[in-house]
Amino acid sequence: MSTDAKGLNFVKLAPWIYTAALFAIWEAAVWIFNLPVTFLPAPSRIAAAIVQYWGPIWSNSIQTLYTTLLGFVLAMVGGLAIGLLIGWSRSIYAGLYPLMIGFNAIPKVAVVPILIIWFGIGSIPAIITAFLISFFPIVVNVATGLATIEPETEDILRALGAKKMDIMIKVGIPRSMPYFFASLKVAITLAFVGSVLSETVGSNTGLGNMMAAAQSRFNVPLVFAGLVMLAIEGIVMYAIMAWIERRMTGWAHRSSMG
């Protein structure tokens, strides 16, 4: 009993211990190898930079979070809608799927300049890039949930006179929800990639822009401070998505359904 409790505590503490260890080793390595701050600043130096530049770091973090979340919410709504549409009809699937795969294969960094031509420098290109990059996994997951309905389930319902819409509402949509919520974890991470990418290529706000500017002034601690903020935002949003997933679709973890 007491060893159990201890084991559990250790598992709970493990992420903190490992993170602390990473920073400790990093700090030690910088001291031991006497690395110049323009190459790899020590965590303590990064912390100092965060304190020193807190004003701009905070406002840029909020800006990045804002564009990321807006793009992500659009991807969530659009991805769910397109995913259901694709799962609904074989012909829509056949028509749209290759288009989307092709579109997904385009490096988003090549799209950003076009977005800037269309919408100018500002938040909109970042929002759209975040949307474009995070939308695909949501679509694929939702469509997978629909495509894997057991044929017997459909047979039983169709034999009772169910229309396609009935099957969709009673089985398709609930069944695709675990897939949808699981995809949100991947999508939110990708959304950050998209917004920061866009801010780095062409913007005058956001963490991506701040880091690009700091880099050109050789302010390496500030670059790393930006990275740390991104990591924190990413982890927090991921945790929120994981929590939502568990809340919304607990049944999927209990039953054998994958």
């Binding site: 057991e150 017997e152 389930t153 047979d155 039983i156 319902l157 169709r158 034999a159 009772l160 006179g161 169910a162 009935d166 009673k170 089985v171 609930p174 069944r175 929800m177 679709t249 049944w251 999927a252 209990r254 039953s255 054998s256 359904m257």
Partner: protein
């Protein structure tokens, strides 16, 4: 008049060049009858069920159920398969009520008369020995219990025709025998007509009034056995000599049908 009349039916999957699943198929079932269908694997037994329920249309011949030619799915049937496929996000009770949310006759009514339908579901749960399990989720039930609930779902809209496609194939021997008795009693206590597809010959001989032996693909009916044993039948019938003779005869007929393919 027969409840089910399948007359010289031919059915091919996947276009003119596709698999000929059944050909020259003739099946008649009276109201209240219990008919078992046995035959080699892949001979078209499930196809026969799909034709009867209107999930598939024949290319030749006619399928008539309750005096009407079947041209689209008909809701006077209830179906249960080997895989109980309960929806895991619904409780057992809500799974059982699902057909009522679909069938034309009940789908509007269930919103206002839910209590009455819940009572009906609970009555069925009691019949199959699952009293009090309605609030459990399917994953909290064993395989045998899920299959019992599956039977309730097949029966909730009071179908005239119950279609069972190898419903007990995945269960252990004891659970299977328990469920034979459940089906036996359901059939005895209601006027439901049952078609049971099975590969378990003892199951067919224990439960059915009539056993149809099908040929290898393309499937048609090779032999039609009256099952002579008096009802109500008890499980010790399984050790009766005549019973075992019948089972052996069925077995060799199917072996021959398979070899002739």
């Amino acid at each position: 008049m027969h409840l089910v009349n399948i007359d010289d039916v031919e059915m091919r999957y996947g276009g003119p060049e596709g698999t000929l699943a059944v050909s020259g198929l003739n099946v008649k079932m009276d109201r209240g009858e219990f008919v078992a269908v046995v035959g080699p694997s892949g001979c078209g037994k499930s196809t026969l069920m799909k034709l009867t329920t209107g999930l598939q249309r024949p290319q030749k011949g006619a399928v008539v159920v309750a005096g009407k030619e079947v041209t689209k799915p008909i809701s006077i049937v209830g179906m249960a398969f080997q895989n109980p496929i309960m929806l895991p996000w619904r409780t057992t009770l809500d799974n059982i009520l699902l057909p009522l949310e679909i069938v034309e006759k009940h789908r509007k009514r269930i919103r206002t008369h839910r209590k009455e339908y819940v009572e009906r579901a609970e009555h069925l749960l009691e019949l199959v020995g699952l009293k009090g399990f309605g609030e459990k989720f399917p994953w909290q039930l064993s395989g045998g219990m899920q299959q019992r609930a599956n039977l309730c779902r097949a029966l909730i809209h009071e179908p005239e025709l119950l279609m069972l496609d190898e419903p007990f194939g995945a269960l252990d021997a004891f659970t299977r025998e328990e469920l034979w008795c459940v089906i036996r009693d359901l059939h005895a206590n209601t006027d439901v007509t049952v078609m049971l597809v099975t590969h378990d010959l003892r199951e067919s001989a224990f439960l059915a009034d009539r056993i149809l032996v099908m040929s290898a693909r393309p499937g048609r009916v090779l032999a039609d056995h009256e099952v002579p044993f008096a009802r109500p039948r008890q499980l010790d019938l399984l050790y009766d000599n005549d019973f075992n003779h019948l089972v052996q005869e069925l077995h060799s007929e199917i072996a021959r049908a398979r070899d002739n393919a």
